[in-house]
Symmetry: C2
Amino acid sequence: MTTVKKQATISDVAERAGVSVPTVSRVLNQVVPVSEKRRKRVLAAIEELDYRPSAAARTLASRRSRMLSIVTSNTSRYGYAETIRGIELAARAADYTVTISVVENDDPEVVRRAVTAAFSQSPEGVIVLTFDPAGDATLRSLPTSVPVVALSGARADGVPQVLIDESTAAEELVRGLLEMGHRTVHHITVPAVHGEDGRTTGWRAALQEAGAPVPDIIEATWDPQSGRAVGRELAADPQVTAVLCGNDEIALGLMRGLVDGGRRVPQDISVAGFDDHPLSSLWVPSLTTVRQDFSELGARGVATLLAAMSDEADAGDLHTLRPEVQWRESTAVAANQ
Amino acid sequence: MTTVKKQATISDVAERAGVSVPTVSRVLNQVVPVSEKRRKRVLAAIEELDYRPSAAARTLASRRSRMLSIVTSNTSRYGYAETIRGIELAARAADYTVTISVVENDDPEVVRRAVTAAFSQSPEGVIVLTFDPAGDATLRSLPTSVPVVALSGARADGVPQVLIDESTAAEELVRGLLEMGHRTVHHITVPAVHGEDGRTTGWRAALQEAGAPVPDIIEATWDPQSGRAVGRELAADPQVTAVLCGNDEIALGLMRGLVDGGRRVPQDISVAGFDDHPLSSLWVPSLTTVRQDFSELGARGVATLLAAMSDEADAGDLHTLRPEVQWRESTAVAANQ
DNA sequence: GTGAAAGCGCTAACAC
DNA sequence: GTGTTAGCGCTTTCAC
C-alpha cells in the first residue's frame, strides 16, 4: 500500500500562507484583487500542499456546480461517441465538467432513474441526445429547474435544439440516385424517434416529387449485423437496385449481405449510408454517404446551453447544421434490367 | 421561457412531512431504521416536492462523493468508447457516478490539468486508460490520496491493473500465419506506451521462436487513413505476404491501401488486426483479428477499484483477461512466390 | 426511534 | 484589500 496523504483544505492553505480563508478563495477565483505579496504566499502554499479545491464545497457555497449533464442512450456507437467528445471538448474549454447519465431505453422507470442520476450532481445545464426513442422519452420527462438543450432528433417544442438537416441531404441523395436511372430507392431505417426522422422524410419527398414508387420501409436495429441480414434478403429481390440506409454501419452490413447473396455493389445494386463513419471511405467499394459533423453538433449544443444558462431570453431556439453528401464508389448508374 | 421551479431541499421535505431533517436523511440512506409511519410521510413529501438530494451537500457532509473519475486520451475511438461504456455500466450498478477527464497527450501541462480536473470532483477512485502515452504519463503523475486502477497498457508498478494478455494472442496469430507458409510477418503499430506493447512483444517472440526474420516495425497513427497510406507502400513490396496490425482500424485501412495498390487480400497478402471491431467481421474479406472484450475490461476495472477502495490490503494487484483469436477470411495460405 | 447541535470546505455579504 | 461572520444542504455525533 502506498501511503495515503490527506487532501489539504483551504484553511490549511490559509494558515500556511498566514492569511484568512476568504483571501485564499479570492486568489483562487481571481475576481477580487489581492495584494501581490499575499497572492504569492498563497500560491506558494497551494503548491507546497498540493492543494485542490473541493468541487462539492464550492458547489454548495456558490450554488454553481460548473457541471453539465449529458443524457444519452449509448456512449460507444460512432455518432454518439463523437457527439459526446464534442460536448466534452467545448465544456472543458468553458471550464465545465461533464457527467454522463445513460438511459438504456424508453421504459419510464429507466428514464426516471437516468433523470435522477443526471440531476443529482446539480448540473447547471443538461444536454439530451435525442437520437432515438430513449433520448426522446427522457426529454419529455425532464424537470424544468435547469436549462436543457436537445441534440438532433425530432423537433421538440419549447426546448432549444440543435438539428442536423438530414431531410435536405436525404433528398439530394435520392434525387441523385434517380437521376442515375434507378426506378426507385429502397430505404432501411434504424429505430426511429417518436414520429419520423429527417432521413425518411427527405427520402419520401424526393421519391414523390419524381413520381417514383415509394417502397415499404425496411426496419433494422442499431446492430450492423442486422444490415447484413437485410442484405441477404434483398439480394434475392431483382426489383431492388438502390438502397438508402439510416446509417453507415447498416449500409456496410448491407453491402456484406448483398455480397453474401451474390450481388455486386455498385454494379448490381447501389448503396448509400448516413453519417460518414471513419471507415466508410475505406470500404471496398467506398460508401456514398452524408457527412454529419457530430463533434460540431456537440460543440454547438454546449454553446446553445451556455447561452440559455446566462441569457434571460433564450437567444436562438433552433440551430441547424447542414450536412454534406459524399458521392463515392458504392453508388452508380443503374444497370439495364 | 418555461417557469423555473426551485429545487426542494431536505428541510422542505422535513417540514412537509412534519419530521426533523435527520429523519429524512435516515429514510434516504435506509441504514438506520425509521418508523413505518414516518417513513411513509417522508416518502410522500419527497414525491410531492419532486425532491432530489444534492450530491454536493452529501459529499461535503459524508466525505464520500460516490464518484469515480476516468482519465482517458480519447472517448470516441472504439476500444476506448467500449471500455468507458463498461465502466459506466458497472459503476452505475454500484451506485457510482462517473466523470470523464480527457488528457489529449503526454505534455506535462496537459497532464497536470487533466489530473486537476479529475480530482476536483473528489472522486473516491480513479481509473486510468493506459492504452497510450497520454494515459501512461497521467498514471505516473497521479496523487496517491485516492485508489487508482490502470487499464491495459504496460505493467505499472504499485498500481492495481487489469491487463489483456495481448502477447499470447499475438504469438498465436503469428504462429498460425507462419504455419500457413508465410516466410515472416510484418507488423504495423499504433502509438505505443512507454516501452513496448504486448502485441509487439508476442509478434517478435513468435518470429524468433520459429527462426523467422524480424522485419522493421512500421509505425502508424491512430487514424485508419494512415493504414491506407502504409498499404499503398507495402503493395509495392513483394517481400510482404502477411501483416499483423496494431488494431483493426489500421488493418481495414491497410487492406484498402493494398487494394489501391493492386494487391488482393488474402490471395496476395494476408492481413490480421487486433480488437475485433464490430465492422471487422463484415468487411470483404472479413478480418482475422483478436477479440478483446473492452467492456469487460471496464467492468473488471471498476470491480478492482471498488475492492481497492474498501479493502486495506489490495486484494489482487493484477488481473488478466484472455483475448481470443478469430480466424477469418483475410488470412490464407501463402501464395507460391 | 428521534431530534438538537455541530460541522464538512468553501463563497458571499459585510464591515473596516 | 482584508478579515469576520454566516450559511450553502446535507450527515454525523450524541442525548434522550
